[in-house]
Symmetry: none
Subunit: 301 residues, 2 copies
């Protein structure tokens, strides 16, 4: 690494002296970019990285910001956050008013890997999902175009195989290399991949084909750059598919949570009951409703 | 998620109205922090995240910065980068003068997702693996205790179902929350999960059971904290299993690379030919041997 055959003359550096030649690497998740450029008549490499937040001075830091709302839906709002000048260096998602459930969902909690057998699904997980009576009103708002309609990337109104594709809140819609879209099915009552059988193949193949076509048309991103997957467990129990750019290390792409759509299709084709019979491994965290459900059944020893 | 039983009154938000109660979660790698606070008399959750760099305006953005040197060593310098005010929101590493080697090392190689059918495995991948004639001498040195013997965590000398478990180089062996161990099988000639059939179940179950027992005994880490998986493609074609702590975001845990050992066992039990018949998705990168192999067969369009 320390290849310094020519003598290094100390110099004082400012970015006004740096002429960009090429972006060598972008890490959207790590908020990092690597640049090739020149300083004077010599080549230079710059690794530029946003800093992690400094907790002790965070409040003071936030006092100096202004915000501009970018989206509002139900209790959720998103903002661009400006510390000064005309370029926003931060973004924020606000949940207000927030319930205990929201606070717990966004907290760091001890993880446990669960091996969910079909029997555990029926005796522990399904009753817990049914008991929690999640509201899907915000999902129906999107499907019925009451909110976010101007953000729709693709849609197929068919009640059996149709879906609406919208950008995920984690994507700014500017940089295609951090592309993150969600396809939400119109059909109600499919909670997760656990419910998928042969009868759903036309729905799954429709999402795959029309989703890919729309993304290529609108963003010029091809199939070989797209990670397409379900979460199990999902964060809400109305079937939806994640499309993320392969260069974007989105949260929830771990093998303990992400199930590739094409694998799901293949598995169901091989055996319609695959997801009715398969033991599925995933992480539950302390204070999750599911954590308590498993604890009640003495799953953890 | 959308628990909105109470009517939501639109309001205009500024961080000067936000009173911090507690930091719920910090993600230093993702430059993200989750906060619990209050706005008025109601609870609020804020997810605050630095933005990824916006390449089109990056140069303009950099012109407006000032830098302060924090370190200088040979061709390497590091800086705090201020866009304004007294708090640095970015940091930079400068390599100057930079050689071709530096530029190449810091460059990204373009990723492509491949859908490897059994036919593509036989016609493209297997010939490429065989042509490359990887040396396994370093693996055999470990198995024969010629190197790293003092590092062995578990072993079973049986030639059919035995293995040696050693720490991965990414683990410092101090913090159990970043535990990373590799179990390497004694049996030769199993290149990857593609080769696994029913006859290998005793081997796989032996690694799982004895590996878990050794980790619990030596490090007091239980099964429900361990992510246990194969890589496909692996980085070397002699069968081995990764054991990592669930809290450690190890590279290669993405659903496009990691295959959970317990899923592999279940799939083979369901169908001995599962990995002979399954299409497997993974990422290849420009300049990989496999990338060229697929390119030669006009796989990429």
């Amino acid at each position: 690494d320390g290849d310094s055959s020519s003598a290094v003359v100390p110099f004082s550096f400012a970015f006004s002296d740096f002429k960009l030649v090429k972006v060598l690497r972008e890490d959207a998740r790590g908020k990092l970019v690597t640049l090739h450029g020149t300083v004077g008549d010599k080549d230079a490499v710059v690794v530029l990285e946003r800093k992690a937040f400094d907790i002790p001075v965070l409040e003071e830091c936030l006092q100096q910001t202004t915000v501009k709302e970018t989206l509002q839906n139900d209790v959720y709002s998103t903002f661009d956050v400006y510390s000064s000048g005309s370029i926003a260096h931060m973004k924020a998602t606000l949940i207000h008013p927030a319930t205990e459930k929201h606070i717990s969902k966004y907290s760091d909690r001890e993880p446990f890997i669960v091996r969910e057998t079909p029997e555990l699904y029926r005796s522990v997980v399904l009753p817990s999902i049914q008991e929690n009576k999640f509201s899907f009103q915000w999902v129906y708002n999107i499907l019925e175009k009451k909110t976010e309609s101007e953000r729709i990337v693709a849609e197929d109104p068919d009640p059996e195989v149709g879906f609406v594709m919208v950008p995920d809140m984690k994507w700014n819609r500017e940089n295609v290399e951090s592309l993150y879209l969600i396809a939400i099915v119109h059909r109600r009552g499919i909670r997760s991949i656990r419910d998928l059988r042969q009868e759903h193949l036309p729905l799954l193949e429709n999402i795959l084909n029309k989703g890919l076509a729309a993304i290529e048309e609108k963003f010029s991103v091809k199939a070989d750059k797209l990670r397409i997957y379900f979460h199990y467990q999902p964060s809400y129990y109305h079937l939806h598919v994640h499309f993320t750019h392969v260069k974007f290390e989105a949260p929830g792409t771990d093998a303990l949570r992400a199930h590739l759509l094409e694998d799901v299709i293949d598995n169901i084709k091989m055996n319609s009951e695959f997801y009715n019979l398969k033991t599925l491994s995933y992480i539950v965290r302390e204070h999750d409703a599911l954590y308590y459900a498993f604890q009640d059944k003495k799953y953890f020893v």
